[in-house]
Amino acid sequence: MAAVGRVADGALSRSRWRTGLLLALPAIAIFALLFIAPLFTLVANSFRTQTGAFTLGNYERFLGDPFYRGVLWNTLKVAAMTTIGCLLIGYPFALYLRGRSPRVRNWLALLLLSPLLISMVIRAYGWLVVLGPNGPVASVLKWIGITPPQLLYNDTAVLIGMVHVMLAYMVLPLMGSLDRIDPTLVPAAKGLGAPAWTCFWRITLPLSAPGMLAGAMIVFSLTASSFVTPAILGGPKVKLMPYFVYTQATTTLDWPYAAAIGFVLVVVTTGLLLGYARLLRRGNGDVVFG
């Protein structure tokens, strides 16, 4: 630790980079051994048969089987619906937040982030109760005189649970984008004779597009790779890729196949995020995530 406080930033001496390397070593070790190595193992295993021979069979099986193609399709569909749901609720909410005092904003932001800070299991369990046969939704429906339909273990239940968690990831970049819009633009447009709706449509909306795009990317890819919430709220009937990674790995014990499904998932989600990050670095992106 003794060298940490050194302030002189002279030539790049050997001892200086040694200090840096030494300080970073634990983190490097953690990520080399517990992140890079497992991911490599995963990729390597996905090209193997159960006995260890090289094969492309796992991918052929995944892409060739209409059932698994359906799973992939359904995963993308649920992710897209969640993204749209977050946008529909998140955009007006971000607009509402924009006009509030910093105090109110801070509280509402905390409220928005609260689902992320509560145990996933408990959060999903809460929705199980809310949407369950003895829950408040069913009670209200009964009280009105409607026989409550099955609210759980379908795409809608997963959608509700996912929008609940993901809303923050949509609203935060949106708020960032909205905050950066020059506040004199809308009055200027109004002064030129534009009605409020036109101002929104022609100025606010296009200028907040980067935030929308960022939010959408994050929500989409995080939803596509979520396991716990869909597993609890959707059960085995809602067929999503993470669920199959899990069952193949722990129930069927077909590790190479689980690895292949996992790798497809990485390509779909991480590829999307990294591509987006690159896009940002090229333009002067102003969007936040991870």
């Binding site: 983190a27 909410f93 609260s114 299991v121 989600t269 991870g290």
Partner: protein, 266 residues
């Protein structure tokens, strides 16, 4: 009119956000043997039930132990790594930064199965220690990021000033550098704690039947039982998280954890 509409909308969103927690907490008090909302009657029976269930208590101990270790290790590793990245050049620095930011983008479930297969290949039997190792991958990027934000806010001249006033390098670190990252470190440690404590996805792959963290235990319990015990545990965990949130908010701001403020990101 528009104002009122906005308020109603915001209130509805707020209700949506708190609904699962609200309902969980309320229905933990029910006297019925099944979960129902609104609760019928008021009893603390289910809380007593939680403490009577041996397996929940041992799972809590395991989760808390691993989470504490994860918090402590992440803080130390995050501090060292943050300092290295912020003020040193060394071979592999760029790669490390890329991995740290890329780690957020890899699905947890993929990490889980990757670790499962890698540990098996290495012949590492699942234990509290392997669970801790797995959780570090989830928590260290956050602490590094927060430390970096703290260091970015520190005027390097303050360190020069301290040195000029006669402080030896270690004293400069102790009196000037460390206080600047104290808040981020405490906030980061608490966040590491709840991340580890709440993790289900990775734990599902790393645990065995006799080594179950609290979330895994609850997850499995839910498959068979539908009594209000889980709501009682859930309430306790929410309280737990609330304390952590207050601490994090106090020291770094929750929004910052998720990259909501622009400055620290640039």
């Amino acid at each position: 009119m528009t104002r009122l509409l906005g308020r109603v909308f915001a209130a509805l969103v707020g209700l949506f956000l708190v609904a699962p927690v609200l309902v969980t907490v309320a229905s933990s008090l029910t006297t019925t043997r099944y979960v129902t909302f609104p609760p019928q009657g008021i009893t603390l029976h289910w809380y007593a039930e939680v403490f009577r269930k041996e397996e929940f208590l041992s799972s809590f101990a395991l989760s808390a132990g691993v989470a504490l270790a994860a918090a402590a290790v992440s803080a130390v590793v995050g501090l060292a790594c943050g300092l290295a990245i912020h003020r040193h050049r060394f071979p592999g620095r760029g790669a490390l930064e890329a991995v740290l930011s890329g780690a957020f983008a890899v699905p947890t479930i993929v990490l889980g199965i990757g670790l499962l297969q890698w540990f098996a290949q290495m012949g590492l039997a699942s234990s509290a220690f392997t669970l801790l190792l797995a959780h570090l991958v989830l928590t260290v990027p956050y602490t590094v990021r927060l430390v970096l934000a703290g260091l970015a806010g520190l005027d390097r001249s303050a360190e020069k000033a301290a040195a000029g006033l006669g402080a030896a390098p270690f004293l400069v670190f102790w009196h000037v550098t460390l206080p600047a990252v104290r808040g981020p470190l405490i906030g980061g440690a608490f966040f590491a704690f709840i991340t580890s404590f709440d993790d289900l996805t990775v734990a599902l792959f790393v645990v065995t039947t006799d080594l179950q963290t609290l979330p895994v235990r609850i997850f499995n319990y839910m498959q068979y039982d539908y009594d209000p015990t889980v709501t009682a545990i859930g309430t306790l965990m929410v309280l737990f998280a609330a304390v952590a949130v207050v601490v994090i908010e106090r020291f770094v701001g929750v929004a910052r954890l998720f990259g909501a403020d622009a400055e620290q990101h640039r």
